[in-house]
Amino acid sequence: MHRLWNRIDFAFSSAWQNFWRNAAVSVASVLIVWVVLLALGSLLLVLHSLDQIVALEKTKASAISVYLADTTPLSSAMDFKLHLENDSRVTGVTYVSKDQAMARFRQLPALDPSVIDTLGTNPLPASLDVTVKDIRDLAAIDQEVRSSPLVDKSPATNYEPNVIDKIILLARVAGIAGLVLIIGLTGLSVFIIMLTIRTAIYLRRKEIEVMKLVGATDWFVRWPFIVEGLIVGVVGAAVAVLIVGFGYRPAVINLQSVLIFIPLAFDPVYLRVVLAAMLLFGLLLGSVGSYLGVRRFLKQ
């Protein structure tokens, strides 16, 4: 117990001294760790948001809203509804009145209801929400309903065949680009931490010589440098964690007010996972960098 405490005390006080003795190099490695973790955290959150959007779009994928012209009488709309229901490809049709459409619209997140009230009249069309058995039939149905005089022309439906594919592609591109960036930065940060440790070892070369001479074990000599690497990792991670932790929510709220129709949501559970991952990754960078440092420069 006594010995363990001595070991820990020696490792931490030496590491702390090392950190400040070559402060410039230490700060450089903290900065690079910070950049890596900021990139990692942001990437994870962006990909998560795209996932959220894809998931929501997928639930909408087998449905199409056919917008009805304001001039269409309710009876004609009902006939049209019946006509669609008799179509073998269709599994269900729901009539949504102008008022119901407005009620739905009011529920969109981040939309100020008072803005809607200033509109006076209701600009939203009534619609027939059609669900199909097979998504591949959507295009044909979209074509057919467009020719009906009952249907509004601007726009006729909400059919956007490629939106999911586009979002998935965007997520994939963002994921790969982010991954490449993070791998590159990870390599760079491990290298810089290694150099930091090397500098610390150089500054302590006399002490290390004496330690080996009087019979200190290899690990007793190494620990202070490993701890120094961990300090670099933790400090860099802590700064990044604070920024991402406090920045995620305002960022989501700002984006929601700009991208009204994109279902973006603040996800505190996922945020916690991301922050924990960042901290762990910071520790990993610090320990790998310093381990390589002591391995390469503390031989013999």
Binding site: N6, E207, K212
Partner: protein, 241 residues
């Protein structure tokens, strides 16, 4: 090949060869036995192989051929993780003291205990004990640059004593000291030897070796050319060995 190590010898070298990677042959066919509590001078010109011998004993270097055993332990078979424990049995001092300039006398000595995880409870009494052996009571808070050369070497000796070593190796310990101070250091080594520690001192100091009349091992060109009890720095003209 199994080598039977005689238990009487504390340090035993058997046909030891050492060739450095650059091709320099530092030692050739060196066989030497040093029993417990011996006091040995290792003499010879610079580059003769004295320092190599010392480095082999603390296994800073490995033999190219032959065997070395210390305290019955074959050094070529010693695992790296056991090396620190060999070093704790061997106290070492050098010509250049190797003190840490930013630590006080007390801290320099305590450092050796701290980094070998000696029980901290006994640290202070142990440091005070060895400092009193070398006669440095009252200088605990001084830094190395506030001390004379002789005092610095005493600190180094105190540091080498904290683990109660069985063997004390001194590589040119008086090389940087004036004659009067050198004699004080020799007295200290004798005192350590009298406490039961084997002492081996590599030196160029002819006067000391001649006056002391102790065992002398002379090395030249990597070979032992003379090994005599109560010897002098140079071989007597008519002595055949």
């Amino acid at each position: 090949m199994a080598v039977v190590v005689p238990t009487a010898a504390q340090i035993h070298l058997e046909h030891v060869e050492k060739t450095y990677p650059n091709g320099t042959v530092a030692l050739r066919d060196v066989t030497l036995e040093i029993p417990k509590q011996d006091f040995v001078f290792l003499v010879g010109p610079s580059g003769a192989g004295k320092s190599t011998l010392v480095r082999l004993l603390i296994r800073e270097e490995k033999v190219t051929a032959g065997t070395i055993s210390v305290e019955g332990q074959d050094l070529s078979r010693l695992k790296r993780r056991h090396l620190p424990f060999l070093r704790r049995k061997i106290g070492m001092v050098f010509q250049d003291f190797k003190l840490l300039p930013n630590l006080t006398v007390f801290q320099n000595v305590a450092f050796a205990l701290r980094v070998t995880e000696g029980a901290l409870r006994h640290l202070k009494p142990k440091v005070e004990e060895v400092l009193s052996i070398v006669g440095l009571e009252g200088k605990e808070t001084k830094f190395p640059d506030q001390l004379s050369g002789g005092e610095q070497q005493r600190v180094a000796i105190a540091r080498a004593l904290v683990h109660d070593p069985r063997i004390f190796l001194a590589d040119e310990p008086t090389g940087n000291l004036d004659p009067a101070t050198s004699w004080e250091i020799i007295q200290l080594l004798l005192q350590i030897n009298a406490r039961g520690t084997t002492v081996m001192m590599a030196t160029h100091n002819r006067e000391i070796v001649d006056v002391m009349r102790r065992r002398v091992v002379a090395i030249e060109g990597g070979q032992i050319v003379r090994d005599e009890d109560a010897g002098g720095y140079h071989a007597p003209a008519l002595e055949s060995h």
